[in-house]
């Protein structure tokens, strides 16, 4: 495999794509939201169990590509035990990581393992695959009922990310 493809499909991403963690309906969930990418037909449901200000458990279900499945899997791991504000900060840092922007405020929890998604930045058409679980999670956290679509102009959609037409940086 070419080395730049390996930047996208890091071992950890392949592993979570094949064997997603927290891949189930969460019986005790008190927040949930559905995410949908009409361009590829991917659907996923994110479940959160929130106690007071804290996410005590997180899980997801659905069908998606390796990138979106791994992203959802690692997101649910990262969220457990985080406060709402910390979850929001992680969302912003993750978005910055893969869009190359610097909108997130300094401080808060580090991205840690989620840094493996940095290679997605070089694949503009795949950015929405990685961000869909996070937008869906945010919607669940805010208690929005509607299905989150990657193509909506809604607040929670990744509208501020580069359009898929942006040429990949590494085209020779």
């Amino acid at each position: 495999m070419s080395s730049d493809l390996r930047d996208l499909y890091q071992e950890m991403i392949l592993d979570h794509g094949k064997r997603p963690r927290n891949f189930r309906a969460l019986a005790k969930a008190n927040r949930r939201a559905e995410g949908y990418n009409p361009l590829c037909g991917d659907r996923e449901t994110v479940y959160l169990e929130v106690e007071g200000d804290r996410v005590v458990d997180a899980a997801f279900e659905g069908a998606g590509c390796a990138i979106s499945t791994a992203s959802a899997s690692m997101m649910t791991e990262a969220l457990k035990g985080k406060s709402r504000e910390e979850a929001e900060t992680l969302f912003e840092k993750f978005r910055d990581l893969i869009t190359g922007e610097t909108k997130a405020a300094a401080g808060g929890p580090p991205l840690g393992k989620l840094e493996v998604f940095s290679g997605v930045r070089e694949y503009p058409v795949r950015i929405k695959c990685a961000t869909l679980p996070w937008h869906t999670m945010r919607s669940a956290l805010h208690g929005d009922a509607a299905v989150i679509s990657t193509e909506d102009g809604a607040e929670a959609s990744p509208k501020d990310e580069p359009r898929p037409t942006t040429p990949p940086a590494k085209v020779c």
């Binding site: 495999m1 590829c40 991917d42």
Partner: protein, 423 residues
């Protein structure tokens, strides 16, 4: 009619074509020598859009450099030249579709607009509350949504003729669904998602037996098959320029003259009128009645060059070459363990849709792309087809006459790489 038919470039009457030399043909398409991610481009997304030969690119350039002006307007030399060139496009399209008369050829933005035109004019006039519009389970969204909108507006019902597991239309079911309330049948000639070739002649015969007109979405057929609207006896036929090696933004609606004549105009504006006063407007004759505003002149000029190019090779040669590629790809890709071919109709055109077990089509597409192989992944604007086969999406390789057996091998090698990576 016989004089019209005499100019048809049918395989039986055309002089023997020079032998098919794919490498020589490839040199006519500048983009095919492009490298992608350092790899030679293997372009297998021809059902989405086709690449352009140099003659198409040059034709548009030539227009703008030598004789461009608005058409049907001025008395000056440029306008006359442009108008004559544009009307020659209409004649070339008539020839491509084997229509009886050039006035049956209406220029549109593409297949989508052609179908919307019929839904908005013929549809609005003839479909009422409780009536039915019959489509098939193979349709592209562009041959579903305009009819859905019409049915919603009129309180009519959209009926869908089903397909079987091979992706073939179940003709008996279609016949059963033709009722006294059916006002129009709209069906694709070739399925964009699966490549199935529908038996249009038979469908038209069944519908006409009940007095129902048939619209054919020919976007995927015209680049691959010899289309004869008179032999098919269909009432409307829609194509897109960009799918047949021409520019984007230009397409064609063929309609039988007597139907077009009786239909109300689609859009109002310049060129579609004979005379205008504030009290009354008299509409222009066919086909101008349906061509409001300045059209895509350069697109039309490019389309003529594209059709001339296709005729220069010959559709029978094209068909033979593409059938070879499809057979090879079906055999080689189908032999890879874990690959499921979606759509295995007995008669198919140049499309191979498939899934790889355990790997999402988007991941297949990304890995292939890094090897220079361009395929489409997703639902191909045919979500009901995906739902029928219970897959969210497929990967789709679609071939053109400029593709080679070596490119099929590149696809196969790429898929082995996909499997290694996600094993």
């Amino acid at each position: 009619m016989s004089s019209v038919r005499a100019v048809r470039p049918t395989p039986s009457t055309a002089p023997p074509a020079p032998s098919f030399d794919v490498q020589r043909i490839r040199r006519d398409f500048p983009i095919l020598s492009q490298k992608v991610h350092g790899m030679p481009l293997v372009y297998l997304d021809n059902a989405a859009t086709t690449q352009k030969p140099i003659s198409v690119i040059e034709a548009e350039r030539d227009l703008y450099e030598r004789f461009y002006a608005n058409i049907h307007r001025g008395v000056h030399w440029l306008s006359v030249e442009s108008t004559e060139a544009y009307e020659r496009v209409r004649e070339t399209v008539r020839c491509l579709l084997h229509a009886a008369e050039a006035r049956e050829i209406v220029f549109t933005r593409g297949t989508t607009e052609a179908i919307n035109l019929v839904a908005a004019t013929y549809g609005r006039t003839h479909v009422g509350a409780g009536d039915e519009v019959l489509i098939t389970a193979l349709e592209h969204h562009s041959n579903i949504v305009p009819w859905q909108m019409l049915c919603e507006e009129k309180g009519a019902k959209l009926k869908v003729a089903p397909i079987d597991l091979r992706g073939e239309l179940i003709l008996e079911e279609l016949e059963r669904l033709l009722s006294d309330r059916t006002k129009i049948v709209a069906v694709s000639h070739v399925s964009n998602a699966l490549g199935t070739v529908n038996p249009i002649g038979e469908i038209v015969r069944l519908a006409h037996a009940k007095g129902i007109p048939v619209l054919v979405d020919g976007a995927q057929a015209a680049p691959h098959l010899e289309v004869d609207v008179q032999a098919l006896d269909c009432d409307f036929y829609a194509i897109s320029g960009h799918k047949i090696y021409g520019p984007t933004g230009v397409g064609v609606l063929y309609g039988k003259a007597q139907l077009l004549d009786a239909m109300p105009p689609y859009q109002g504006g310049g060129d579609m009128i004979s005379s205008v006063t504030f009290e009354k407007t008299t509409y222009n004759v066919l086909p101008y009645k349906f061509e409001a505003g300045t059209p895509n002149i350069a697109g039309g000029i490019g389309l003529k060059a594209a059709i001339d190019y296709v005729h220069g090779i010959g559709l029978s040669q094209i068909r033979r070459h593409e059938e070879g590629l499809l057979a090879l790809a079906t055999e080689k890709v189908g032999a890879i363990s874990g690959v499921r071919l979606i759509g295995t109709a007995r008669e198919k055109a140049a499309v191979l849709s498939f899934t790889v077990e355990g790997v999402h089509p988007h991941d297949v597409g990304t890995v292939l792309d890094r090897q220079g192989v361009a395929v489409r992944t997703g639902h191909h604007c045919a979500q009901p087809v995906m739902d029928f086969f219970k897959v969210p999406a497929t990967a789709r390789a679609s071939f053109a006459f400029y593709n080679t057996p070596e490119e099929v091998e590149a696809l196969v090698a790429g898929l082995h790489e996909v499997k290694r990576m996600f094993a």
